[in-house]
């Protein structure tokens, strides 16, 4: 789908639904506003779905896996083959995202968008491979412009497909050894911050490795000269396939009026690409948590999102999104299931206050 056509399908949420939801919330047996952000989540869900009693019974966290050429620059504490090994771990149900998604009653959809490995017919793996790993961004673009657009479109298709199958909320997650490096590069370009201010320790690297990582990002920016006003240019030159996929998922969610819970640092880099393509996507996003990666905050501020959880997570995979979905769902249940003052015969505020 052309970007112009897509953008025309994405509409801002309508304040009328927020007001209607607020009226109901204010009649429930609690002091007004006393359930804080739970009430905010309920209102946003109602405005997104334009349904006064929405269901979020079918939930899916999409974990997109891709490899990164830049892994050869020693920017990660883990070897590159861990990406495919973790894909098998996801499929076997043993990873963090599997445990937390089970806890949250959420399905995990594992998508191979750019792993440097041929999985053949692996059961339950959604194969949407665009590249067999990206190229090393220190030496040139990670992907061609065409590949970047394809990555974005993959998840757009997925969003449409899962919307058609009546899924009611999406989570966006990632797996890709070395992928905090392209995410930091994207953060630097799209927020305008210094590379040092948005580059963290990823899976846990040493001081020396961190300095190297910063230099790799600076070199990549210098050789590629990404255009900050052209998000597809930024994505193709610095971004990973999974980051492009997340951008597409967010765009597709917004076009289908489905709420999308953005996990942590890498997912937010993808969400930021989607936001720069079409700022109205913000209305459909929830920020799952405040990642320990230092560049995360700047990207969330750029989009204008406040994270739901702050638990020092830095795993990715969609783990924060799975937890946040439970909290968002709690907000919706408050809205739908609590008794009103009238139903419960409870007195409201005294007149002197």
């Amino acid at each position: 789908m052309e970007l112009q056509n897509l953008s025309s399908k994405i509409n801002s949420i309508n304040g009328k639904f927020i007001e209607q939801a607020q009226q109901r919330l204010d009649n429930l047996t609690k002091p007004q506003g006393s359930l804080g952000r739970l009430e905010e989540f309920a209102k946003k869900l109602i405005a997104i779905t334009e349904n006064p009693m929405p269901e979020i019974d079918k939930k899916a966290v999409f974990t997109f896996a891709g490899d990164h050429g830049v892994a050869e620059e020693g920017v990660s504490a883990f070897p590159k083959e861990v990406t495919r090994q973790m894909v098998f771990n996801f499929l076997n149900g043993g990873a963090g995202i599997n445990v937390l998604a089970r806890h949250a009653g959420t399905e995990v959809v594992v998508v191979d968008i750019g792993v440097d490995y041929e999985f053949k017919d692996t059961k339950n793996l959604i194969s949407k491979k665009i590249v067999r790993g990206t190229k090393n961004m220190r030496k040139g673009p990670e992907m061609t412009k065409d590949e970047a657009i394809k990555c974005k479109n993959v998840r757009l298709e997925l969003a449409n497909e899962y919307a058609g199958r009546a899924y009611k909320i999406f989570g966006a997650g990632d797996m890709g050894i070395a992928n905090t490096t392209p995410s930091s590069a994207i953060a630097a370009i799209l927020t305008g911050k210094h590379v040092e201010a948005v580059t963290g320790r990823g899976t846990g690297i040493t001081d020396t490795s961190w300095k190297n990582k910063v230099q790799v990002i600076k070199d990549a920016i210098s050789i590629n000269k990404p255009d900050h006003s052209d998000p597809i240019d930024v994505l193709s030159k610095l971004g990973g396939s999974e980051i492009g996929g997340i951008a597409g998922l967010v765009l597709g969610a917004a076009a289908n009026r489905i709420p999308v819970v953005v996990d942590g640092f890498i997912s937010t880099a993808g969400a930021l690409i989607a936001y720069v393509i079409e700022p109205k996507t913000k209305d459909y996003m929830f920020a799952a948590h405040n990642s320990q990666e230092i560049g995360h905050k700047a990207m969330l501020e750029k989009i204008g999102l406040k994270p739901i959880l702050d638990l020092n997570l830095r795993l990715g995979e969609g783990t924060g999104a799975a937890l946040a979905i439970m909290i968002i769902e709690a907000g919706l249940k408050i809205y739908k299931e609590m008794a009103t003052f009238e139903e419960a015969a409870v007195a409201t505020k005294t007149s002197n206050d």
Copy 2:
């Protein structure tokens, strides 16, 4: 039970169990420490239970209801009869705590410890009434010393009973119109802060009402002269029956090696009383959330607890505790259900990092 005997039954947690849990966590298929506070919660649960594979299948949030004589001073936005009306709402399943406890798979145990109303044989209400509302603390002690001790003992008995029935985690919640007033008074005395610095808006009062509330608390402190080194004196002079009950629940949980999730402002006032009676109780407490009530932070700092959630909640009832239990449970599931590097055949860190 005498306080001396009780204290002898409460032991600090043993660091050996923390270390053993850490070893397992470090072998799971994730970068070390990358699940942040979820890992902290798992370790604490294992050390509390001294069980390498604990279950928290049976969960109960105790919502203690009591009335406050000080309500007649116009310190709340709601009339006093709302306390009993909300008890009926709890029993009918229509309140915020009912909704969130169902979401979290947690039972709600409603306890009448001091409501100014005779409930007779109301189904599912645990009747442990010590007082029919407390007295107005602006005019003298809320309770006699004997009543304060009884309140604490009620929940001690409840803790023992539910421990015996194999409940594995407790939440502590409250209901009592005007009860932010005694909680702020307790906070001021036990943290040493100024009354203004620990007095908030409760259910949502105006500026004028807030100034009156501050004056009421100052008058109550001035007339009662509570001894900050004697928590039972503080409880009897300033505290509510439900606050005493929460203190007892925390003490009883610690004596039974059961984790207890302390809800928000009022529950933390109770937990602080328990902590001053026996500081080792801290090892058994989880702070559910960061309440919007301004005095909450000072009390949590005094105990040394960091809240799990920060969602601008200020409802009480145990609502934050129910949500936090879901997050704590997520941490335990990570610890128990994730695959190790060996099980999943995933490579560990490369040697150069």
